[in-house]
Each structure stands twice: as C-alpha cells, then as structure tokens.
C-alpha cells in the first residue's frame, strides 16, 4: 500500500501544485520520483512529528494541501495535540497518513502498533477518519479526500496487501462497499483486515452460511445509512477491525444500532485491552488477538449454534 501511496501522491502532485508531502524521515527512496519531479513538493521534516503537524497546519492555512506521512503512532498519538488544535480546531485541510497501521508492524512491538487511533481521533471534532483496505481503495480515498477541505486521517497498511476489488468499485466516503451479498449474517470489516473477512466468508460458504461482506473505509463520519440497511436485513452483524475494541468502529456500530432502535445483534471483533508483547508476523498477531478469519468464522458459527 505504501508504494501505491507514493505513486498516487506523485501523480496527484503533478496535477495539483498545492500538494506537499511532509515525511517524518521515513520511506527511504519511496518518494524519489516525487522529489525528482518537483523538489518543492516534498519536505523531510525529520524525526520531529509535533513540529511536522504544526508546519502542515500552517501550510494548509496558507493555501497548500499538505499530506503528512510517517508510521502511524508517530503521526497520531505522538502529535495528538497538534492534530487537535492546529489541524482540527483550525479546520486546516491537512491529510494525515499513518503507514504500517494496526498490527502491520507486529514484529516491531507495541511502540509501532496502532490500536487506539480510531478511538482517539474519533473524539476530535472536524476530523474525518479513513481506513482503505488495499492499494486501489487507498488511491481512491486519497483522491476523494482532496476534493474537499475536511481535515482527514488515513490509516494504511505496509506492503503486499492483495487487491480486493478495483478502485472504480469503491464507495463514496461515508458509504459501505458491499463485496458479497448474503443473508442473515453480515461481516463489516474496516481497513486492511478486510482480507480476513473475505477469507472468513469463503469458509462460511463451505459450511452453508452465506455471509454478506461489506468493507468500510470511513470510520468517521460513520456510514449510518448503509449500516441501517444491514441492521434491517441481517440478524447478525460482525464487525472486524485491527484496533482496540474500546471506542473503535465496532462500538460505534453498536451505538448506531441502538440509536436507530434496531433489533439485530452487533458483535464487534477487535483487540482486547492489551499490549501485544510477543514478537511475530501480522498474521500471528491477528490470530493472537482474535481478529483473523478463524476468529470471524468461530464468532458466526458460535452465534448460530447458540441461537438454534
């Protein structure tokens, strides 16, 4: 995804002189094409994220469209007050991109995990929060974000994510993208963990359960209308996120259902209240934290076993 990001930013910067990529001293060689194409549209801000976010806000208030880029915890919680005050309160059109989000960098340990970014940024007024699931959806939401001036946070993966569907099929911001239409159960996945939902739906099909699969790239504003549609037509909605259960996407879906007075069940899958201190691959980490395809299948089968 990060290569697609660099490529898309390079293309967009060629068309729009207001775009400036601010890097927190990462992505060695990743932005070489952009730097060669337009040196003034790339600035390495060094390992100084609080300053980088303030600089981005100052640029955005002066007519530019800055995009900040570094590893997720450093461009979110490290400089949270700058996001809250300089970007969000000023309604500065900054796009904040967190790479290697969730458990992408599982083996780097909890310093590099981001399992609380949705929760924290959701509480900040004026912020839009996006989590595309593959390279085409990343390209699409980046372009959509540049069409208005809403301060936007985009959480992306690292590399090697398989494409799930073409960019042309990606829904508008604030909508769900329906991948598979099933019945009774819907799996709603946010961000790159969507691949687990796809795999889980295939497993469930083999055991005779036709699951709807919907992909969510917008955590805030919550895709309420599409969620209402799922609540009306499905008995069980399983949400999956590579994020803490606390104040994450799943909990906001639960409260959305309750506010709307629907009678279906929302079962959020996410990471419990823990730091994952064991080393290992992202797949290992997903298994350990109960957000992989196996965990989704178990959740669905368990629900219907208990219901019958």
């Amino acid at each position: 995804m990060r290569n697609a990001f660099a490529d898309e930013v390079t293309q967009l910067a060629a068309q729009d002189a207001r775009i400036v990529l601010l890097s927190g001293d990462i992505g060695n060689r990743l932005f070489d094409r952009l730097r060669a194409q337009s040196p003034s549209q790339f600035i390495n801000c060094g390992v100084a994220e609080a300053n980088m976010m303030g600089v981005a806000a100052g640029m955005a208030l002066s007519g530019l469209r800055p995009i900040t880029y570094t590893i997720t915890p450093f461009t979110t919680t490290r400089c949270l007050e700058q996001i809250r005050v300089d970007v969000a309160y000023h309604e500065a059109p900054v796009i904040i991109v967190g790479t290697g989000s969730g458990l992408s960098y599982a083996s780097l340990g909890p310093t590099h995990h981001s399992l609380e970014d949705f929760a924290i940024l959701r509480a900040i007024p004026n912020m839009r929060i996006l989590a595309p699931w593959d390279a085409p959806s990343l390209r699409d939401v980046l372009k959509q974000s540049l069409r208005d001036t809403t301060p936007t946070y985009i959480r992306i993966g690292k590399k090697g994510e398989k494409d799930i569907l073409p960019g042309s099929d990606v829904a508008a911001l604030g909508r769900l993208t329906q991948l598979v239409k099933g019945e009774k159960v819907a799996i709603v996945a946010v961000g790159t963990v969507a691949s687990e939902a796809v795999r889980a739906a295939e497993e469930l099909k083999r055991v005779g359960i036709a699951a709807t699969v919907s992909l969510a790239h917008t955590v805030k504003p919550l895709p309420e209308a599409d969620l209402h549609g799922l609540f009306q037509t499905h008995q069980l909605i399983v949400t999956v996120e590579e994020h803490s259960l606390a104040a994450g996407f799943g909990e906001s879906c639960v409260s959305c259902m309750q506010r709307g007075g629907f009678a279906s069940t929302v079962l959020p899958l996410g990471v419990s209240d823990m730091f994952l201190s064991k080393a290992g691959s992202q797949q290992y980490a997903r298994r350990q934290t109960g957000i992989d395809s196996v965990a989704i299948v178990e959740a669905v089968r368990g629900f219907f076993a208990n219901a019958s």
Binding site: V55, L64, V85, Y89
Partner: protein, 288 residues
C-alpha cells in the same frame, strides 16, 4: 511609512491602560505577560507588518502569530486600535458568548487572527509552515512569531528551530519575550534557559538581543539583513508588568487581577486622562 517612536509610545501607554482596565473588569489574568510583550506588538503592528484591516485575509499579507496566546488581551487591543474590529467591540471581552476569551480563537472567528494559540509551543511550527508555504508558492510575505521565554520549555519550539534553520527560512522572524519569568518561577531556574541567545545561535539562527521596550533597538534588529539567509530571532529583554510600577518584575501579576484603585493608579502613571478611565458605575465580573 514609519510612525515616529514618540507616537508609538503614546499608543503603547493607551493600550497598556486598556489592558489593565479590561483585566479588572473581566477578571482575566496574565497581565504581567501582556505588558511585557506589548511594545513588541505595537512596533510590529504600526511599523512592520504589511496588513490591511479592510482586507484581513489578503493572501499577500504578512503573518503574525502571538504564540504566547495568554497575552491575547493585548493582541485584541492592538487589532482593535488598528481597525480589524472596533474598540467598542472589546467592551464585551469575557462576557458569556463573546468571541473575546482569554486566548485567541481560530482565525475564522475573528479578523486579524492567524492562529489559535494558548497551548504553548504551537505558534512557531505553524508560523514555519506559513513561511514555507510562501516560499513554495512564490509569495513574498513575511512571518513573525512572538514566543514567551517560558514557552521555550516546549520541545516543539526547538523542533521548529532545527527545521527552520535546515530549510534556511529567512522570511521568518521570531521574537522571544524574555521577561525572565514563567508562571511559577524564574525561567532560568525552572528549566535551564540561559544562555538563551547562545542556544538560538547554536541552532543556526541569526540572533539579535535587544531591549524589548526600546523601539529604536527593536527597529535596528528587525531591519538587520543576514548574508547567510538564516531565520532571525530577536531575544527581547523585557520586564514583566512593564509600564506600571507596582506590577514590574512582580510575578504575582501573572495571575493577580487589579482592583479599581490599582487601575486608577496605573492610569496616573500612564498619563491617561481621567475621562478615559471609565470605571464609574461598572461592576467587575468575578471569575472563579
């Protein structure tokens, strides 16, 4: 066109008085911090900044950020006197629903404001972004930021100082209002701030150290040209509570609110005509 310094002194006396009076009436603190940077604001707003109150959002305007946002009462008085809004508007300072609070609001809420400050350490990075934006867009406006010395406790100030030097952002001028105090102690004792000029010099800045209440000295520093294209910092030695004898260098006035009698005493010291004191019949608001 430059305003003669004796006229600036007259403006400064009036703004000092209005700030003291407003503190009394509204019950808002930070008077010492307001009075220490007031002369810098007067000098900038009358003799330096290329701004047009009638076209406050002109893209080519110079940018000014009061990073020590707790001195907002002085910024509001300055902007009113320069015509961004009326002096009469400021009578509502601190009342329920007023745009005028203890810190500058976001720019969309008040003409003349470039950044909502108050949390220290934000103004310099934002000003640096504005200065870099000018370079990228080929605009020739300049950016000015006033920091407090206590604010230099914040790491983000030094992050920005490093980046501005690396980027050779010579359209950026920073003032440090060096009144030697912060909220609860001497700024050289709470953290090791001294030697402050040497620190900025070591960070790669074009450094001037001046008496921050001497318009001629400030003018010389503002006009100095650097052959190396470095960002400029003016370490302005100032006195907290400057201009009112019983407030000068007394850190109790970081939080203390003047009584009506103290406002009248200040008026005498500042040569304010009795008819401009206007306290009779007005009850100060109490704030918890």
């Amino acid at each position: 066109m430059s305003v003669p310094h004796h006229q600036l002194e007259q403006v400064a006396r009036e703004l000092r008085f209005r700030t003291v009076r407003t503190s009394h009436l509204s019950g808002t603190p930070h008077l010492g911090s307001c009075l220490s940077c007031l002369d810098l604001l007067v000098y900038l707003y009358w003799n330096v900044l290329k701004i047009d109150p009638k076209n406050a959002r002109d893209p080519g305007r110079d940018r000014f950020i009061l990073s020590k946002g707790h001195a907002a009462p002085v910024l509001f008085q300055t902007l009113a006197e320069r015509g961004f809004f009326s002096v009469q508007d400021l009578e509502e300072y601190g009342t329920d629903g007023s745009v005028f609070g203890e810190h500058p609001p976001a720019p969309k809420y008040l003409p003349g404001i470039e950044a909502a400050t108050g949390s220290l350490g934000h103004g310099l990075p934002m000003g640096l972004g504005m200065a870099l934006a000018a370079r990228i867009q080929g605009a020739n406006y300049r950016t000015y930021v006033i920091l407090s010395d206590g604010e230099c406790n914040e790491g983000s100030v030094w992050e920005a100082a490093l980046m501005a030097a690396a980027q050779k952002v010579n359209s950026l001028t920073v003032f440090v209002d060096y009144n030697k105090w912060q909220a609860t102690g001497r700024s050289n004792e709470v953290l090791g701030l001294a030697p402050l000029s040497a620190k900025w010099d070591a960070f790669g800045w074009f450094v001037h150290e001046v008496d921050g209440h001497d318009f001629a000295a400030v003018e010389t520093a503002v006009n100095a040209m650097d052959e190396f294209g470095r960002p400029k910092v003016i370490i302005a030695n100032t006195v907290k509570g400057k201009g009112v004898s019983f407030m000068e260098d007394d850190n109790n006035w970081h939080y203390r609110i003047p009584s009506a009698d103290e406002v009248r005493k200040a008026a005498i010291e500042l040569h304010i005509p009795t008819n401009l004191i206007r306290l009779d019949g007005l009850a100060p608001r109490t704030h918890e």
